[in-house]
């Protein structure tokens, strides 16, 4: 492998801050979207449940 060591890999030839600053934020933002999507689906299912119980008790 071209990096030799983990340290070299993390250093990115002196550009570690810029490279990893890009990748980490990208990963965090995508993880946040996945979390938000899961939350939205659960909320939508809860809304359906509420509509069902409201409709049947009426």
């Amino acid at each position: 492998m071209q990096w030799g060591s983990l340290q070299n890999f993390l250093a990115m030839g002196g550009y570690g801050f810029y490279v990893w600053g890009s990748y980490v934020v990208c990963a965090v933002v995508i993880a946040a979207e996945i979390w938000a999507l899961r939350h939205r689906r659960r909320a939508a299912l809860a809304e359906v449940k509420r509509a069902v119980t409201a409709g049947r008790s009426a």
Binding site: Y15, Y18, I30
Partner: protein
């Protein structure tokens, strides 16, 4: 609603009915999600372990593997969003407007990633995180168009009106996409010209391969995310429809 689903014979419009598309989308999500994950692993492996160091930029160029895919997807998703919003506006098809609404947040996210990674790439390359350059400014406008679309839809209570207003905004904003794309040609910008044009590339082959794999990875991710959001939106809007209640009783939501 039921007239669409019970009409006999073949029709592409059958899939335009939310109750038909809902389970289809559900089946497609895992396929695109797995593809996105696998392609990301392959693309990053090529990008970080096979592609060489850039002669001019050193290792900082490796930001390209997320910068270009997110920038391309931000533009592509915008056009797709405007297209579906326009179809919903003209033909009054419910699913089209829902599709536009489902695309907007993922598009905004892609625009944000391209701006963020661009700033972190710009600093070591040009000496600045930000410049009011044509490419950068038009991409920032793209982000604001997405956010404006989301805010406008959220601000209007009546769904039909919200969809129509959003569609008008989305369609007017389409003019910004060619401006972004050609900005590096039309103006003397800080941002470099296109490295990849149809039929030619100014990049080393492994770099280009890694980047293109990442483009597909982002694409597959965007499809998966949009479909999941679309399913949630269908439930939000149709929660009182009989098919939703029936599907729920059968445990098929």
């Amino acid at each position: 609603m039921s007239s669409v689903t019970t009409s006999p014979g073949f029709s592409l419009f059958r899939y335009a009915a939310p109750n038909v598309f809902y389970p289809v989308a559900g089946k497609m999500v895992p396929f695109f999600a797995v593809l996105a994950a696998v392609l990301t692993v392959i693309g990053l492996y090529i990008g970080f372990f096979m592609a060489p160091t850039d002669a001019q930029q050193g290792e900082s160029y490796r930001i390209i593997y997320i910068h270009v895919p997110s920038a391309w997807m931000a533009m592509f998703l915008y056009v797709t969003m405007a297209f579906w919003a326009g179809v919903g506006l003209v033909f009054n098809t419910r699913l089209s407007s829902m599709m536009a609404q489902a695309i907007a947040p993922t598009g905004a996210l892609m625009a944000f990633i391209s701006l963020w990674t661009g700033a972190l790439w710009g600093r070591p390359t040009w000496g600045t995180y930000w410049a009011w350059d044509a490419r950068l400014t038009s991409t920032l406008i793209l982000l604001f168009l997405y956010l404006g679309f989301i805010a406008l839809q959220a601000a209007i209570d009546e769904q039909r009106r919200a969809d129509k207003a959003g569609a008008v905004l989305a369609l007017v904003g389409v003019v910004n996409v060619p401006i972004i794309y050609f900005s590096v040609k039309w103006w003397n910008t800080l941002h470099q010209g296109a490295s990849v044009k149809p039929g030619s590339s100014a990049m080393a082959e492994t770099m280009l391969t890694g980047m293109l794999v990442m483009v597909f990875a982002f694409w597959m991710y965007a499809i998966a995310a949009v479909l999941v959001r679309l399913r949630a939106i269908i439930l939000e809007r149709e929660r009182r429809a009989q098919w939703v209640l029936d599907a729920r009783d059968q445990g098929k939501l």
